[in-house]
């Protein structure tokens, strides 16, 4: 009996102590910005839609069912970019870092869906999947305070030459500097990260073949894309295989 009581008190004390020290530790943190960001000095790239298994797209352009998931994922992903949701966002000056350090309420820059052209889902509800020109959205990971230098753009290559023609929206895969820096979830609630749509016009005689695509971020000296170990730092590789 006594021993149970002892451990009750003992662990109770330890739990309280743990809670207390954690509370003290959390008090030292800002709710806006993490204390350190050295583990994410350079952003990773990611694509949408993201197939469940690995980054491999398999679909039949004449079978709507085979790409329905990709389409719905894209649709969902782009919902937050819908004009109706962007009413609060402002139009910023393109090509310039949008510094709001002195402003208490951080504004988000508007990202017009029309920038994504044929991949905006406006004209083609299937994002090109039904035509054999599937769209993949490439986005750069959000990192608080990151200010890209130069003219960052997404550039994709295919290992197999001549199988696919790659088109970018916005043109040349440019990522506008006005979307940077990001101020964090709590200060920058409506922030939308810039997207680059990559349209893969698959050559009609290259169907049934697995096409490996690698996209990289180029044109900005402070965004890494060649890390030995991190295969997603400033780059992303995926595969597409389309049948008819």
């Amino acid at each position: 009996g006594l021993i149970l009581l002892f451990y009750l008190v003992f662990y109770g004390f330890l739990a309280a102590l743990f809670t207390f020290t954690m509370w003290v530790m959390l008090q030292t943190l800002s709710s806006d910005i993490p204390k350190y960001r050295d583990r994410i000095s350079s952003p990773g790239l990611m694509i949408s839609p993201k197939p469940d298994t690995a980054l491999e797209f398999y679909f039949n352009k004449s079978d709507a069912q085979s790409y329905a998931e990709y389409v719905s994922t894209l649709r969902k992903f782009l919902e937050s970019y819908d004009d109706s949701k962007q009413s609060q966002n402002i139009n910023c000056t393109p090509g310039r870092i949008f510094d709001q350090n002195d402003v208490a309420v951080k504004k988000a820059c508007r990202f017009n869906l029309s920038e994504l052209g044929q991949c905006s889902g406006k004209e083609d509800k299937t994002f090109g999947y039904s035509k054999g020109t599937p769209c993949v959205l490439v986005k750069m990971n959000r990192i608080i305070g990151l200010k890209p230098e130069g003219e960052p753009r997404i550039y994709c290559t295919s290992k197999e030459e001549g199988m696919v023609e790659i088109n970018y929206f916005p043109p040349e895969g440019l990522i506008d500097l006005m979307y940077f820096p990001y101020y964090g979830k709590s200060l920058h609630a409506h922030y939308l990260q810039p997207l680059v749509a990559v349209q893969l016009a698959i050559n009609s005689n290259s169907t049934k073949e697995e096409i490996a695509i690698e996209c990289k971020i180029l044109g900005s000296p402070n965004l890494k894309n060649e890390d030995d170990r991190d295969k997603f730092l400033g780059r992303i590789a995926f595969k597409v295989q389309m049948t008819e």
Binding site: F18, P34, R39, I40, K50, K139, N141, I144, D227, F232
Partner: protein, 983 residues
């Protein structure tokens, strides 16, 4: 039966000739048939078996299981084509390496301690003088065969069992065989039915002390009497040492905890829908976290450190585990001669002028303090000096007298040294008093006589001096010297002699009487031809001068050592082949029988009642004669061992030693036994710890023993006991220290499985704690000084006082261990929170966190992380967790210095090695963190400096808490707290 045969019958039986010996060809034939004349060494375990034993002993099996599981999961992952299956391969390899390396280490340690012994058994090959082909030849003794005729002389070791054919004053020392310390004469006559008792056989490995003999080899090698005993000894099973039992108990305990937690969480993780493969990986992690990989090696090192320390104090330990056995010893069965005593006769008392004088018997006497002014002493000293055949070996003038080597028997040696100490230069005195005739001592006359010229040039008389058995000497006397004057020996003076004689004899001393006579000048002129055969000189009506009594005195350090044993609750039992009276006298003088206690016989004598009427319970002491022991049933022996606290076994044969040892072990005691003879080896083996004498001991005894006493001194055993007890305490501390952090290594796995947080610590990291930072500190605890006088408590109870008891496990696991875990988790959460993952975000993220395809994992601030960025963070977490454990282990190390006393009582800086441990711990952690922080495979990351201090408050808390614990233990002994918190 060869002892009964006549010479010619023997010649016939062995096909040999006494004069010509065997022919070389025949000898070679027999050699081929019987094998060499040497003892087969005890079967050694093959090295490979020893090595493999180390590979599967202790925790190795668990780690092998871990390794095999790692390889299985590697194979499965490889087959499934997963991204990084090699992690598991590496882990398996690392685990296997850990087992193999610790196995090699343990094997090496064991081999090293065995090697110390190997040097002992190496001896100069013995030579024997053999007659073969009618020629005398020197042959190596192992070439001897049955039927060989060998010649031996004083100083030789008998090369085989030999039936003597001709002898000249041959005496052999059979002590290694029978324990009898007196040399025994040997002749060609068949004197006893029992071959062991008959005089015409000399036994292998005994020594010829003096004289010469020729004999025929009748047994060689293992067929000799010694050989048969040696093989008997190897038949006595070796008992497991107490520390081996304790360590086994501990391994079972920890392995039990590891396996049950492992299996429990395997079931939990399977039922939580984790994949089987993942569950297996968790299982490996739990096993690795639970098993203190470095501990067994640490224990070995600690034991060998103690063994080294003991070797410096003249206890050479053969078997490392015996180090601790000595500490748990509760009964020491000690030899008398050489162990408790100095193993040399020394004059202890004198009687002249109607008065007993005591002489100094210490080892390094240079003068004698008794009153030497009486003219009687001058006369006595002259007899002592002159009536003595013993001589110093030349060339020892610079040695202290007591250390000089003497040619002569024990009594004469004693007298020679005694005279040399008091008078100086005995040889010169003898030269000045030229000897003209001499009758040496023999057993029929029981006296020794010599006639000398005197060194007084004015006195032309001859001096006849005589010594011998007191009653015989007295018979030959008509006068007695009192204060230098001859007085008639009346009945009153004879009665005084009797009283003194009885008193000295009662002290167990060997008494000699001395008398002299100045031969009248007119009857015995210068040229008188003395003839010892016809005895043409008077041997009666002499003048009695005095008595000298001798004893083999106790070593001066022994009484102190015995009283230490007494306060340490260790019963000292004397087992000797000597006479009960001598044994009892020595037992009394060293304190084995204390001054106030009485034997049954003493009580009977005091109350003047027959022995049978004495209440046996009243007697605390007992002197048991070997003859009585022979007729005793086991119950009677048990009764004696149980009821008497002070026991002396006298006149015991070495075989009876085994019976006594077994009797003590039946009482549940841990028994230490000393021994030197070959016949002692069964007892030495049977004992929990057999102690062989380094100087007097035979090789067989040294082989059978666990420990060799280099100086043959009982007091060294006691220092050994002290070291043994200390190491037991310190091993407790080491284990407590080591077990604690296992919880801090285990908790991360459990919480990882249950709360699905990112992995807080890696398996490799755990190995770096167990085999890296923690090793030197845990060895350092072996250097800790005792908390209180360990020689003032009773020996530990084998059944109750475990090395690892419940309190130790519970306190380490459930209290300090949990505190450490809390401290480490605070650091872990701090690192994650300051990088953007608040604790609330971390819960339940495991699956996504570890998903290689998710490279935009969102943190609490909306930032997105690639998998690899998360891995880096995870490794930073590992490092932070590792550093926190290390920091808190420093506190753990400090608190483990004592179990009861405050650290401040013990002294924070007294044990310098602890600080070496602390610095090594932090140093290794710094190197791993900052030096190897970029080697990905090790999963260490350079850490922000402040994270080293997050756990410091918890480390301080651990220290303070433990101080409070100890304070309560000291304040309230016997309380609930004491019972539950003292380990």
């Amino acid at each position: 039966e060869d002892h009964k045969l006549s010479t010619s019958e023997l010649e016939e039986k062995y096909g040999t000739s006494i004069n010509k010996g065997l022919s070389s060809a025949r000898a070679a034939e027999i050699l081929a048939r019987d094998g060499p004349n040497s003892l087969t060494p005890p079967k050694a375990t093959p090295e490979i078996v020893k090595f493999l034993k180390q590979m599967v002993g202790g925790f190795s099996i668990l780690l092998w299981i871990g390794a095999v599981f790692s390889w299985i999961s590697f194979a499965i992952q490889l087959a499934q084509g997963a991204e990084s299956p090699f992690d598991n391969l590496y882990l398996g390899v690392v685990l296997a390496l850990v087992v193999i390396l610790t196995g090699i280490f343990a094997y090496y340690q064991e081999a090293k301690s065995t090697n110390i012994m190997a040097s002992f058994s190496k001896m100069i090959p013995q030579q024997a003088l053999v007659i073969r082909d009618a020629e005398k030849k020197e042959l190596p003794a192992d070439q001897l065969v049955v039927g060989d005729i060998v010649e031996i002389k004083g100083g030789d070791r008998i090369p085989a069992d030999i039936r003597l054919i001709s002898t000249q004053g041959c005496k052999v020392d059979n002590s290694s065989l029978t324990g009898e310390s007196e040399p025994q004469s040997r002749s060609c006559d068949f004197t006893h039915e029992n071959p062991l008792e008959t005089r015409n056989i000399a036994f292998y490995s005994t020594t010829c002390v003096e004289g010469t003999a020729t004999g025929m080899v009748i047994n060689t090698g293992d067929r000799t009497v010694i050989g048969r005993i040696a093989s008997l000894a190897s038949g006595v099973g070796n008992e497991k040492t107490p520390i081996a039992i304790e360590i086994e108990h501990f391994v079972y305990l920890v392995a039990g905890v590891a396996i049950s937690i492992g299996v429990l969480f395997f079931i939990i993780s399977v039922s939580m829908r984790y994949k089987i493969l993942d569950s297996i990986i968790f299982l490996i992690g739990i096993i690795v976290a639970n098993v203190p990989e470095g501990l067994l090696a640490t224990v070995t090192v600690s034991l060998s450190l103690t063994a080294k320390r003991m070797a410096k104090k003249n206890c050479l330990v053969k078997n490392l585990e015996a180090v601790e056995t000595l500490g748990s010893t509760s009964i020491i069965c000690s030899d008398k001669t050489g162990t408790l005593t100095q193993n040399r006769m020394t004059v202890a008392h004198l009687w002249f002028d109607n008065q007993i004088y005591s002489a100094d018997t210490s080892e390094d006497q240079t003068t004698q303090p008794f009153d030497q002014s009486s003219p009687s002493w001058t006369a006595l000293s002259k007899i002592v000096t002159l009536c003595n055949r013993a001589e110093f070996r030349p060339g020892q003038e610079n040695l202290p007298i007591m250390k000089r080597v003497v040619v002569g028997d024990a009594s004469e040696t004693a007298l020679l040294k005694f005279a040399e100490v008091i008078l100086g230069d005995v040889m010169n005195i003898r030269a000045r008093n030229k000897k003209v005739a001499e009758i040496p001592f023999n057993s029929t006359n029981k006296f020794q006589l010599s006639i000398h010229e005197t060194d007084d040039p004015n006195d032309k008389r001859f001096l006849l001096v005589m010594k011998g058995a007191p009653e015989r000497i007295l018979e030959k006397c008509s006068t007695i010297m009192i204060n230098g004057k001859e007085e008639p020996l009346d009945s009153e003076k004879a009665a005084a002699f009797q009283t003194a004689y009885m008193e000295l004899g009662g002290m167990g001393e060997r008494v000699l009487g001395f008398c002299h006579l100045y031969l009248p000048e007119n009857e015995f002129p210068d040229t008188y031809p003395f003839d010892t055969d016809s005895m043409n000189f008077p041997t009666s009506n002499l003048c009695f001068v005095g008595l000298l009594s001798m004893i083999d005195p106790p070593r001066s350090t022994v009484p102190d050592a015995v009283s230490k044993c007494r306060s340490a609750g260790i019963k000292v039992i004397m087992v000797t082949g000597d006479h009960p009276i001598t044994a009892k006298a020595i037992a009394k003088s060293v304190g084995i029988i204390s001054a106030t206690s009485e034997t049954v016989e003493d009580i009977a004598k005091r109350l003047n009642i027959p022995v049978e009427q004495v209440n046996r319970r009243e007697a605390t002491a007992a002197v048991v004669n070997g003859m009585e022991l022979k007729d005793m049933s086991l119950q009677q022996l048990d009764e004696i061992l149980c009821n008497h606290s002070e026991i002396v076994f006298a006149r015991t044969s070495p075989q009876q030693k085994l019976i006594i040892v077994e009797g003590c072990q039946r009482q549940g005691a841990v028994v230490a036994v000393t021994g030197d003879g070959v016949n002692d080896s069964p007892a030495l083996k049977k004992a929990d710890i057999g102690i062989a004498m380094g100087i007097a001991g035979s090789d067989a005894a040294k082989n059978a023993a666990d420990m060799v006493l280099l100086d043959d001194n009982f007091a060294s055993i006691v220092t050994g006991v002290e070291e043994g007890r200390l190491i037991f305490d310190n091993l407790k501390k080491t284990i407590a220290y080591t077990l604690t952090k296992n919880i801090a290594e285990l908790c991360p796995f459990l919480i990882y499985i249950i709360a699905s947080i990112p992995m807080p610590i890696g398996t490799i990291t755990i190995l770096f704690i167990d085999l890296g930072t923690d090793v030197i500190p845990s060895v350092a605890l072996a250097y800790e000084k005792a908390e209180s006088d360990i020689m003032n408590r009773r020996p530990r109870n084998k059944r109750k006082d475990r090395l690892v008891n419940e309190q130790l496990a519970v306190y380490s696991y459930l209290q300090i261990g949990i505190m450490q875990s809390v401290g480490a988790f605070v650091t872990y959460f701090t690192v994650y929170a300051e990088q953007g993952f608040l604790p609330s975000t971390l819960l339940g993220v495991r699956v996504d966190w570890e998903n290689n395809a998710i490279n935009d994992f969102e943190d609490s601030y909306g930032q997105e992380w690639t998998k690899y960025q998360r891995m880096y963070l995870q490794w930073t977490g590992y490092t932070a967790f590792f550093v926190s454990i290390t920091i808190q282990q420093v506190a753990d190390l400090i608190i483990r210095k004592t179990r009861r006393n405050s650290i401040f009582q013990q002294g924070l800086f007294r044990n310098k090695v602890i600080w070496v441990g602390i610095f090594s711990q932090i140093g290794i952690a710094l190197i791993l963190t900052y030096g190897l922080g970029h080697v990905t495979a090790l999963n260490f990351m350079p850490l922000r400096f402040q994270y080293w201090f997050v756990a410091v408050p918890f480390a301080i808390l651990i220290w303070v808490y433990d101080e409070v614990r100890k304070l309560f233990i000291r304040r309230y002994p016997g309380s609930w707290w004491d019972k539950n918190m003292y380990y």
